[in-house]
């Protein structure tokens, strides 16, 4: 699953560049001045306690939460100026499935693939990759288990071929086989040129997967422990 020539758009600049980034949820600063640089093809793990700001950071990087202060550039797009144009280039696996319960698995994956302007054939291959082909593809999403829904959301993301993968608890609700598939997808995406930022409470598994680890607390990046550079807390 190779993204569209990611090197052509922003050269060697970091995929993510945050300096003193502040994001408010109402009047509460969910991000209170985050500094972060992530290079292309890196896998970065965000860790931290509940309420540390992991989900808000992922949503802000997707252009869904406005950055009210500081610098925030994602895939060469200044989020302070334009949050919309980065959105179709990122894939966000959030807590919500983003699926229509009444539609079948295949209908959902095909719809979101076409909506992203991707090749319809990618929808079929993504369903095969996530084990959603065959009988399961015609089942309504509302009748699926939590893990099967998670796989369907992942299939929608994979078929879109995003340049930046933002995964919020991607292992949650999955069995061991499903979690292995997630890890394999993440590694393949990075190898193909995409960048992956994920949060997970499955730390043993996620630490093995990540090139860099960033710890968040109180809406700021507290430290980083890299395994080779590239994801730096400034």
């Amino acid at each position: 699953m190779e993204p569209d020539d990611p090197t052509s758009r922003s050269g060697t600049e970091p995929v993510v560049h945050l300096r003193g980034a502040v994001a408010l949820l109402g009047r509460f600063p969910a991000l209170a001045g985050v500094d972060l640089d992530v290079d292309r093809r890196r896998i970065v793990l965000l860790r931290g306690a509940n309420g540390a700001g992991k989900t808000t950071l992922l949503r802000a990087l997707a252009g869904l939460v406005p950055i009210s202060e500081g610098e925030a550039v994602v895939l060469g797009v200044d989020l302070r100026v334009d949050r919309q144009s980065v959105r179709h280039r990122v894939g966000l696996l959030a807590h919500g499935t983003g699926l229509y319960d009444e539609l079948s698995v295949a209908d959902n994956v095909r719809f979101w693939t076409l909506a992203a302007g991707a090749d319809p054939a990618d929808a079929e291959s993504a369903m095969v990759r996530l084990g959603l082909d065959g009988r399961l593809s015609d089942v309504s999403v509302g009748r699926l288990s939590t893990g099967q829904r998670r796989r369907t959301s992942l299939a929608c993301l994979v078929a879109r071929r995003p340049e930046l993968w933002l995964l919020d608890e991607p292992h949650a609700g999955l069995d061991k086989e499903g979690r292995d598939v997630v890890d394999e997808l993440v590694r393949d995406a990075a190898a193909a040129g995409a960048t992956v930022i994920l949060s997970s409470h499955e730390l043993d598994r996620a630490i093995d997967l990540a090139d860099e680890i960033v710890t968040l607390g109180g809406g700021v990046a507290l430290d980083e422990s890299g395994k080779g550079g590239g994801g730096d807390v400034a």
Binding site: G63, L64, A94, L99, A116, G117
Partner: protein, 222 residues
């Protein structure tokens, strides 16, 4: 934009075909409204016949509200709104697609209600050209305005009660225009109905333009 509109309309219609909410809930509700009007006005059969155009369009409006609420309820569930924002679909395309799917559902509903009116109220149908033009233009007006106000209400917890409060006053000119045009058609004086069709056409055109430009910012706020 048109590709996006077609994609959204096809998805919404497929959702309705699979869930059958419109068929199992909206259509029976609309027919029930007609029956209740008949019960209420039956002692005076002349009044019922005279009021038929207005009763028909009130039933359409009430039932259409259910269809519009449903159209946005499916987008509010389980992170779908965020997925739509991230999809790359043009907001104007989403607006036009949702408008088209609501309009198609309303047209089906209006045909069924027309049959219901003819059977329950004994209305003899005349002035077909004006009736059809009124139905098409009024449907466009209701669905263009309804979709725009639907996204305004969709992000709020009180959307089920807020949408009627916002939308019904806005649609008052459409209710008046469509009722007058139907009266003209059924009374054999179609020339008196065409100006109302023109008025509703302008109404629909204004809301199409407002929706194309305003739906994106409103979706951001929802």
């Amino acid at each position: 934009m048109l590709r996006d509109a077609w994609l959204i309309a096809r998805k919404d219609l497929r959702l309705e075909m699979r869930s059958r909410v419109a068929l199992n809930q909206v259509v029976p509700f609309a027919l029930l409204v007609l029956v209740l009007f008949a019960f209420a006005l039956d002692p005076d059969r002349g009044l019922l016949e005279k009021a038929t155009p207005g009763l028909y369009w009130i039933a359409v409006l009430f039932s259409g509200l259910l269809a519009m609420q449903r159209s946005f309820a499916v987008e509010a569930a389980d992170g779908v709104t965020d997925a739509l924002r991230l999809s790359g679909l043009a907001p104007a395309g989403i607006y036009l697609g949702k408008t088209l799917s609501v309009a198609i559902q309303l047209l089906v509903l209006e045909v069924l209600l027309g049959v219901g009116v003819a059977v329950l109220y004994g209305t003899s149908i005349t002035g077909w050209l004006l009736l059809i033009a009124t139905i098409v233009v009024a449907t466009a007006a209701i669905s263009t305005a309804g979709t725009l106000f639907g996204v305004v209400a969709s992000g709020l917890r009180v959307r089920e009660t807020l949408l009627p409060l916002l939308l019904l006053p806005v649609l008052a000119p459409v209710l008046i225009g469509s009722t007058r045009a139907f009266e003209a058609a059924l009374s054999g004086t179609p020339s008196e109905g065409w100006p109302w069709v023109g008025l509703m056409s302008v109404f629909a055109a204004v809301y199409v333009v407002a929706g194309i430009f305003g739906f994106g910012p409103l979706m951001e706020e929802s």
